[in-house]
Symmetry: C2
Subunit: 205 residues, 2 copies
């Protein structure tokens, strides 16, 4: 099945290393496509009427009773309301809810000197286009990110298991502003062993 | 060894169902004592000079490479700076970084009608005493809370494994405002099978 058969809405770009925001109505389906197969997409959702209500990993884990959403699970807000339901997943089902968005401090600690794009800055820039400034950075839903949790509670940063063209579908449970960032991490292999951030795509149906 | 021998500073109360805040200087040691053995203590830390910098579970997990802090691990801020280091733990080593603080929405969803104390409100009240209002509710370090993560990524809410008088010691790595809430949860057994919130205590040395 080609990507064109899988998705029906217009294919929209999440440029490598950058973020996008979109308004989505309750009931619409957002499909996030891992076009090249190994790109992590940091994802957020905000109540379209109140950016102080946002998708919260710590509230979602308590409701899902899982650290990693599976098809049928609903991500919840910091007011414990339904925001996004995972309705389909062809990516292998490995996503992350545990790790903060990358930020300038992360790249400084990894030894990078000078400007580096980050998912935290991408979120701020994407929200600013909707007139929202000064928002906190909620802990993201890191689509396709592979952070295994072992029996002793240890975690590690591993390359994604997703394949080119694989996707997740998320149903909006309220009117939302969704934000996606094609993670610019190129110093550890979260975006694949080549450490090369790539474009991803999405549709809204 | 009695509790009096274990701790040297004045014993201070965290009243059952309520929260307290304290200013702590870099280098001081905060000892949190599970006086009755099965009380979860939701814990936060804020930079004393900037409440916009706070202890962050999602940043800490990425640095500790663990979901559950062990002796020697350092909890970090949303700017990835060292805030608190776990230097001693006689409680069995089971704490939680995954689950949100309880809030009015949690009790409503559990069927409670009318007012119920919550760790989220306790945090807000405790910070207000320092003139800090409108702060976000960071995901807490839930001392003594037992949320096992299984190989399939599922989690469950279990009674603590800690024993009466057991404690953790945390060294402040910067000047902090720390907040502790003796979790008022009495509808699920996170505070022990009896579902009865109890006092806890702490010292600052």
């Amino acid at each position: 099945m080609s990507r064109q058969e899988q998705v029906t809405g217009a294919l929209r770009l999440i440029p490598a290393r950058k973020g996008v925001a979109e308004r989505v109505k309750a009931g619409q389906i957002v499909t996030v496509i891992n076009t090249h197969g190994s790109q992590v997409v940091d994802s957020w959702a905000f109540n379209a009427e109140d950016p102080g209500e946002f998708m919260s990993m710590e509230h979602s884990r308590g409701a899902m009773l899982r650290v990693n959403p599976k098809v049928g699970d609903t991500l919840r807000s910091n007011k414990r309301r339904a925001m996004l339901t995972l309705t389909e997943d062809t990516s292998g089902g490995i996503h992350d809810t545990l790790i903060a968005a990358c930020d300038r401090y992360r790249y400084e600690q990894l030894g990078h000197v000078g400007h580096h794009d980050s998912c935290t800055d991408n979120l701020a820039h994407a929200l600013a286009a909707f007139g929202i400034t000064g928002a906190e950075t909620p802990s993201p839903l890191n689509l396709f990110m592979n952070i295994p949790v072992r029996a002793d509670g240890s975690v590690s940063f591993e390359p994604p298991v997703s394949t080119p063209g694989s996707h997740v579908r998320l149903r909006a449970e309220m009117d939302l502003i969704v934000v996606f960032s094609a993670c610019p991490q190129d110093l550890v292999p979260v975006n694949g062993a080549a450490c090369t951030p790539q474009d991803a795509h999405y549709t809204i149906d």
